[in-house]
């Protein structure tokens, strides 16, 4: 897809080629990305969010699981100006920046800790789906023939599964298979790891198992278009092995579209995690996730809207940031695609 820009440059000004500094595809893309204001803002927000996630225990004024039952549903005084409907019944406490939830946990601290879940998913989700999808797709596309046919039919069948239903089924399977394992067994080790991660391990596996198919299809298509190019043939004639051709010659040339597709898929992974936590199959309580906070808050939205709206805003800001960055990356790596998809 993306032609190395050096070729274009060579065609444009033949004489200056030797004197001007050559610019690689990535340098050129980076330059274009930095010029895109929305993408830069998105990137900065993502950076801030990651810093928040790393230093959550320094930023949050309270531990996320600390319950102060007397402070149930209390709100700070300024909140009454924003949500005047609360006036008649709200109890005021300025101890909490955004108020406290139904068991008296600090909402702000929980939102801060919630960045950890969403942003870990944003990091791990693409890695897993890239790993499986790229291997699967490049084998299918590179070797072609009957193998390709079988592998793609498998992907087709998996596509026919309604995604959310499949992931719910998988989560139910993991959650109850690893519910009460014997110490010392493999399942015990896995469930301990999951408990350490606050229930995120199975979310990763669930997202990974349902998200790789799109990447596999994309990779296959890209590999197919590369496979017949002359430079691949050249590599083959000098005796390069299949593995070398795949990793040294094909993959570096298709990495652009893959990165763009994966960046644009990140909001989807974040939503999936929020959805799973929303229906109670996501993170283990009391680990805070924006999804579970929204679902808890939605039950009291008529009386205490702040308990839903702030986690929802946090989620929205994160989604905006990743979408802006993804759009910017796409425009930067392949200007011809601007505004598509």
């Amino acid at each position: 897809m993306a032609q190395p820009v050096t070729l274009d440059a060579r065609a444009r000004d033949k004489d200056t080629l030797l004197t001007t500094k050559r610019e690689s595809l990535w340098q050129d893309a980076l330059r274009r990305l930095i010029r895109n204001r929305a993408a830069v803002i998105g990137g900065v927000i993502i950076l801030i969010l990651y810093l928040t996630a790393i230093f959550a225990d320094k930023i949050a004024p309270y531990p996320y699981e600390k319950q102060t039952l007397v402070d149930q549903n209390k709100v700070p005084a300024w909140m009454l100006k924003v949500f005047p409907t609360m006036q008649p019944y709200a109890k005021i406490s300025d101890k909490y920046l955004l108020g406290a939830d139904y068991v008296g946990r600090d909402l702000f601290s929980r939102i801060v800790y919630g960045t950890r879940v969403s942003l870990t998913v944003a990091l791990i989700g693409p890695l897993i789906s890239l790993f499986i999808g790229v291997i699967y797709g490049s084998i299918s596309g590179y070797f072609g023939g009957r193998l390709d046919n079988i592998m793609m039919r498998i992907v087709d069948v998996l596509y026919a599964f309604p995604g959310l239903l499949f992931i719910i089924l998988l989560m139910a399977f993991f959650r109850s298979t690893f519910a009460r394992p014997e110490p010392g067994t493999f399942t015990y080790t896995v469930s301990q790891l999951d408990a350490r991660l606050g229930g995120m391990l199975f979310i990763f596996i669930g997202i990974g198992l349902t998200a790789w198919e799109t990447m596999a299809r994309l990779t296959r298509g890209q590999v197919l278009s590369m496979r017949e190019k002359e430079f691949i043939e050249a590599a083959r004639t000098i005796g390069a092995t299949d593995l070398r051709i795949m990793f040294r010659h094909i993959l570096p040339n298709i990495v652009g579209p893959l990165v763009v597709a994966e960046t644009l898929a990140i909001p989807g992974y974040i939503t999936t995690e929020a959805f799973l936590s929303f229906i109670g199959l996501g993170v283990n309580p009391p680990t805070p996730s924006w999804g579970s906070m929204i679902s808890e808050g939605a039950q009291v939205i008529r009386t205490y809207p702040n308990q839903t709206i702030f986690p929802a805003l946090a989620l929205a800001i994160t989604m905006f940031a990743f979408n802006f960055l993804g759009d910017g990356l796409r425009d930067a790596l392949d200007p011809r695609l601007r505004g598509t998809q």
Binding site: P162, A172, S176, P267, I301, I309, L315, M319, N323, F324
Partner: protein
């Protein structure tokens, strides 16, 4: 074309078969059974219940029995008994015999209800929500995309694409609660929860009257659900129209002195809408199957809650029924799209 459709239909059957096998295997691999309770039932009762629902048989036999009940039509001399075991989704009287097809089985959560009852009463609500959301997506998405393409790089373009980014960045899980709070609780424009149409439905899907009552309830959830898809439609329309406007035949149309409005409507729009039309199928399938959060947030009595409750309760026939139904909707939507595609674009031939 006929051969292509026939091949696709066979393929569809294979897909449904594989989906049903994987689902069946996976759900029985989940530990626990449908009759596990906080306070355990006496073993004799569980034994009897298992016997009643054939859960004591080998898995392969249960699977065979399920496939037999769902896929194999029956011809019977007796009219439907109205019992749980004799509840078929399709029952037609042919002369003096009854043609019965598709018995999706009982639900374990209720002795008198069947999966077919859920399909009859809850599925239409989800379908109505899905159709409304699709309409919202088209009504918002297409004009935005067209405007953005015709006025490329102007304020309209940026505005339209901002709306598109908003749509993909704010899924139902965010938009739902926000809309309830703003338009339902604070401004009191719409009822915050509920659904305006109740069974029985016309043709099994449509509400009996499409009055203000229906829309009062339907508008908020359909916008919440459809906005994300409207973003997809807007982007696709814009990209497709931009590409079409650069085609040679557009230049020809302009060169022969055709009015710009005619060029756009008759030549550009018509051709650029092909890719847009073709994604409506998968989009519809995604909207109907993706109503869960919307239904929970807005308290709509659709299929959504059965997704989760059936799996957590190990209500096997309901799990199988919902997954098979949605898989069917997905594959049929894709099939229809491929056929429509060939019809709209004569260059595409399936042989």
């Amino acid at each position: 074309m006929g051969r292509y459709i026939a091949r696709r239909l066979i393929y569809l059957l294979v897909v449904l078969f594989v989906v049903s096998a994987i689902t069946f295997g996976l759900m029985h691999a989940v530990p626990g059974g449908p009759f596990d309770r906080e306070k355990a039932l006496p073993p004799e009762i569980i034994e009897n219940l298992n016997k009643r629902y054939h859960l004591d048989e080998p898995l392969l036999m249960q699977y065979g029995r399920y496939l037999y009940d769902v896929f194999i039509p029956r011809i019977s001399a007796t009219p439907p008994q109205g019992s749980v075991d004799d509840d078929f989704l399709i029952t037609v009287k042919l002369g003096n015999v009854w043609f019965k097809w598709m018995n999706f089985g009982p639900t374990y959560s209720s002795r008198s209800r069947t999966v077919n009852d859920i399909f009859r009463q809850q599925l239409p609500v989800s379908a109505q929500l899905g159709i409304m959301a699709l309409l919202v997506a088209i009504i918002i998405g297409m004009p935005l995309g067209i405007l953005a393409a015709l006025k490329q790089n102007t304020i309209f373009d940026y505005l339209g694409m901002s709306v598109a980014i908003f749509g993909v960045s704010v899924p139902v899980i965010i938009l739902g609660p926000l809309m309830i709070w703003i338009f339902g609780v604070t401004l009191k424009w719409f009822p915050p929860t509920g659904w305006g149409a109740k069974p029985p439905f016309v043709l099994g899907i449509f509400p009996r009257e499409l009055g203000p009552e229906f829309f009062r309830y339907a508008i908020m959830p359909s916008v919440a659900l459809g906005l994300g898809s409207s973003a997809i439609i807007a982007r696709l329309t814009r990209a497709s129209l931009l590409q079409t406007m650069r085609e040679d035949y557009i230049r020809t149309a302009r060169a022969k002195g055709l009015r710009e409005s005619l060029v756009i409507v008759r030549h550009a729009l018509k051709n650029s809408l092909i890719p847009v039309v073709t994604i409506l199928g998968p989009l519809f399938a995604a909207l109907v199957t993706g109503t869960f959060v919307t239904e929970v947030t807005f308290g709509i009595p659709g299929m959504g809650r059965y997704f989760v409750t059936s799996i957590t309760n190990r209500d096997y026939p309901v799990i199988m029924g919902t997954i098979l139904l949605y898989a069917l909707i997905l594959v049929i939507a894709n099939l229809v799209v491929d056929i429509v595609y060939a019809y709209l674009d004569p260059r595409i031939r399936y042989d």
